[in-house]
Amino acid sequence: MTHALLAATPLWMPSAADLQRLGPLWSLAGTIVAVLFAALLVGRNYRVAGAIATLGGVFTATLCWRGITGGAVPFAGLAPEAAAPMLVVDQFSCFFIFLISVFLVLVTGMWFMGLDAGVPDEAARRRDAVEFFVLFVGSAFGMALMVSTSNLLMIILAVESASLPSYGLAGFRKKHRPAAEASLKYILFGAVTSAISVYGASLLYGQFHTLDLMKISTAIGSQGISVLTGVGLFAFLIGVAFKVSAVPFHFWCPDVFEGASIEITTWLSVASKAAGLGLMLRIMWLLSCTVQSADAMRWVAHAVAIMAAITCTVGNFSAFRQTNLKRLLAFSSIAHAGYMLMAVSIIWQPRESAAGMPHPASSAVIAYMIVYLLMNLAAFGVVAMVYWSTGRETMDAFNGLGWRNPLLGVVMATCLFSLVGLPPLGGFITKYYLLIALYDASLIWLIFVAVFNTLLSLYYYARIAYAMYFVQSDEAPVRAPAMGQFAVLMCAAAIVLSGTFYAGKLKSFSDQRSRDMYGAMQPTGLRVAERPTADSMH
């Protein structure tokens, strides 16, 4: 049997052109190796390690930007069979890898700022910097893999290679009780969900005899969704829902965000969610890529919509009672993941009428993701600077912040009102795009849920703003690094601009990415017969 198998499988080598197209992935993988080898050559120097990670991030971002703007990098399937690719680097994944690697650079900057601002465990940080950056870039690599694959096996490996370094990062502070506890909870949750996800993948494999999502989708189109398929699909999606921290797989999120050091919290709150949502979008999109399978996937999409609604509501309600800012922002990030999942739940709807038009769901997610990155970076940046100055992350450290450091107060207020989604800010305009997309998809009940949740969230965000301006405090002024203040100010400015003068630009940028995606995500000729292609526009 084994001999027959080996004889039947021809020896296959990827071509140099195929390998070249995986540039962003090579670049991140190379960065990991470079950090390790640099430690071997020049010794354990934290500056060298950080500089290599930064350079790697910048280089990857440049490659991806070229992939985004350069137009035609439609598809690179690294597999013997062209119709069943293992790795996919297209416009869609280029955008998400770009986001992840830019964020990698920013968080590295934050890590260095924390050193100068005198964090408590400074000596240990310098000493373990090499391991830190290896794990850090390693998780970025896993996340980059997550958004560039359409194969069940590769999805599971990608989720794992994003998760495993993250477990280590969450518990990176040794002899620190919250960190130890956070990483324990993180790995147990992650291991359980990924095991169930693997079992689900094995059921799907047994049902459809293939690991490729496109082929599974075609089979779903002709056979419909049986009970076993449904069970397999949901079990498989649990692993992704864990990364997105969708309820009921969100329990790790607040604990990890509170226990991990603040750079890691910032990193996980944006990058891990971006990768998870990108993967979720691709899975849902590929599985509903023919008209018949879209029809069959309707029920799965409804389940995702319900999960999104519950995620939003639970996230917002749980945020009410929090006094630790990191924990509060964790619940806020769960709620935001819920909003973005709402868009994922409408991606199955076919758009035959408008050939080459971007899918509103994916462009809503992209716009949302860009502004969400800015909001979270600035909000966590302010929390970090207050922590470096006062040593506390609780709400009372923010009392009177508006007077103790006016700049940080203004930035934080901007972020908070943008997170709520109030009009002149970026958070409003992206939420508006999202609601329009939901309206087009005639999911009116989901719009009500989203608006209701926005009102709920106003309470706890406004509570922080209230503490900053209306609670008296006789504490010393908050001293913050100049570079850090400049960075968060730039983020706040970008949030304001994206909601006002550049709202149209944001829309057209995300539409463009989404249009590219719409074209790029049609790997083979499978969909062409049923649906108009985006290529007819170009």
Partner: protein, 103 residues
């Protein structure tokens, strides 16, 4: 004479899966939960190899199973490192003792 077929393997895998889930739910020791995870992963492996052997005749199921073994090893390695770290701070790996972070 009974011949062993696909269904036997699937039933075996379902039993192992259920035992794994039971183990995860009932154990309070972190290592016990990790053992439950390994059981579920091995249930998936039995599925994959059986499907590959009886239905598709292709190598991808076998390949998947090899990767799952690798994944289980990586998870156990980092998991036990984290359990050690937890043990060093709390002198236990009972997950219920990790109760500092809560609402």
């Amino acid at each position: 004479m009974l011949t062993i077929g696909l269904n036997h393997y699937l039933v075996l895998s379902a039993i192992v899966f259920s035992l794994g889930i039971l183990c995860m739910v009932t154990k309070r020791n972190a290592l016990g939960i990790l053992i439950g995870v390994e059981l579920v992963l091995n249930a998936a492996n039995v599925n994959l190899v059986a499907f590959s052997r009886y239905q598709t005749g292709a190598a991808d199921g076998h390949m998947f199973a090899v990767f799952v073994i690798l994944l289980a090893a990586a998870e156990a390695a980092i998991g036990i490192a984290i359990f050690m770290n937890f043990y060093n701070t709390l002198q236990t790996i009972d997950v219920d003792r990790g109760d500092e972070l809560r609402n």
